[in-house]
């Protein structure tokens, strides 16, 4: 009966999160493109402007969440594409390990940069 009460069994969680992050990313990507490519063109983006935006708590949180969801979505997508291609056994474990480490490092580095930009560390 324990199985009945357990939530988040392995297979489905990643699939559900992939879909949820996809929905979230559509909105945040649109926001990102409009703000930093269409409204403010590449030439207009300045270091001071970036710092000013990051000091806004809402913007900071959105960007960190953007980073986490995009990393998960990308890493999980690549991993599943490889599994679809028949990746198995030790190779699969190694690939998963590398992707998890790379993803975690990306999130840690990105969050650190965001904190520095905001002037909070």
């Amino acid at each position: 009966m324990a199985e009945r009460y357990s939530s988040f069994a392995p297979g489905g969680t990643a699939w559900l999160l992939q879909r949820l992050t996809a929905a979230f990313l559509i909105v945040v990507l649109a926001f990102h493109f409009f703000l930093l490519h269409f409204v403010n063109h590449a030439a207009d983006i300045t270091f001071a402007g970036t710092q000013a935006r990051m000091q806004d708590v809402g913007y900071f949180l959105t960007m960190v969440l953007f980073l986490i969801t995009a990393t998960f979505h990308g890493v999980n997508g690549v991993y599943n594409a490889l599994v679809n291609q028949g990746l198995a056994g030790t190779q699969k474990k190694v690939v998963l390990g590398v992707l998890v480490v790379a993803g975690t490092a990306l999130i840690a580095q990105g969050t650190w940069v965001a904190l520095v930009m905001a002037g909070w560390i």
Partner: protein
């Protein structure tokens, strides 16, 4: 149908009237099929006056391979020119080629009416049932090959063992243990539930879907569309207890179960029985997530 006709001898067209009305009112799959059937009938009637095609021939290019015969160890295509007859199917053509030209031409076939699922071939670059594919609808030469992504045993015969293993892995049989108290009572199913599983029950195990699936081609552990559809047929059947449904979901929610489907719809495209396979797989994904999100 026949009893209706007997009851209304004065109105032979009486049974067709409601069908036409429904066709205008809504567009269910059944109505679509009836409409296609009517269109086909009209077409056949229209073409009945056209000149006879008896003189024409069909150019077949048939894949040949036999590991046990030295001359056929190297795969090749053989050409056959078969006299065309109206209504000729790909299966009719290869049967003619075998009977008249080369008795060693090997392929599976049985019922010739799209029920046994034996004669799924790769015809002109697409998985089709030989007996359900009209030669007149194909471009010539007609290339007939064995199903891709399965080992070729000989000519058009492929190894189906793996496909059957996957089908059996989902326990494709009714498993309700608690029967109605009265021994003579039937295990009834509501009309709505029957309608829900109707399309999934049509599977004839031909293997066309599995052969067309990109993922199944690269991942042998993947259950494949046909097996998942079979699981759907029973998991969605209300006559089985909730515990059995959960047991079924546990089988399909393994890593190489439903999650491998990338919704490419190639299985749905080639299914000779028009089963919405991809939709069924997606529905099982949702069911599995719902089951796992239960906190109570």
């Amino acid at each position: 149908m026949s009893t209706q006709q007997e009851q209304q001898p004065a109105e032979p067209e009486g049974q067709e009237v409601p069908v036409d009305q429904e066709m205008k009112a809504e567009s269910s799959p059944q109505q679509d099929r009836l409409q296609r059937k009517q269109e086909g009938l009209d077409q056949r009637e229209a073409s009945a006056d056209e000149p006879d095609f008896e003189e024409e021939t069909v150019h077949l290019k048939v894949f040949r391979y036999d590991p046990e015969v030295e001359a056929k160890q190297e795969p090749r295509f053989d050409d056959f020119h078969v006299p065309f007859t109206r209504g000729m199917t790909v299966l009719d053509a290869v049967i003619y080629a075998r009977d008249e030209y080369d008795p060693s031409l090997t392929f599976r076939h049985s019922c010739r009416q799209a029920i046994c699922g034996s004669d799924a071939f790769f015809v002109n670059g697409r998985q089709r049932l030989g007996c359900k594919t009209q030669i007149s609808e194909l471009e010539q030469p007609v290339r007939v090959e064995p199903l891709p992504h399965q080992e070729v045993v000989k000519d058009l015969v492929v190894e189906m063992e793996h496909f059957y293993d996957q089908m059996h892995a989902v326990e494709p049989y009714f498993q309700q243990e608690d029967l109605p108290e009265d021994e003579l009572e039937e295990q009834r199913q509501s009309r709505e539930n029957r309608e829900k599983v109707k399309m999934s029950t049509r599977c004839i195990w031909c293997g066309a879907c599995m052969s067309s699936c990109n993922i199944a081609a690269g991942d042998n552990q993947y259950l494949g569309p046909a097996a998942i559809n079979k699981a759907y047929r029973f998991a969605m059947d209300e006559r089985e207890d909730e515990e059995i449904k959960e047991h079924r979901l546990r089988i399909v929610e393994q890593e190489h179960g439903v999650w491998r489907c990338q919704t490419q719809f190639s299985c749905t495209e080639v299914c000779p029985k028009d089963i919405p396979l991809t939709e069924h797989i997606q529905e099982l994904k949702r069911e599995a997530v719902k089951k796992n999100l239960k906190f109570w």
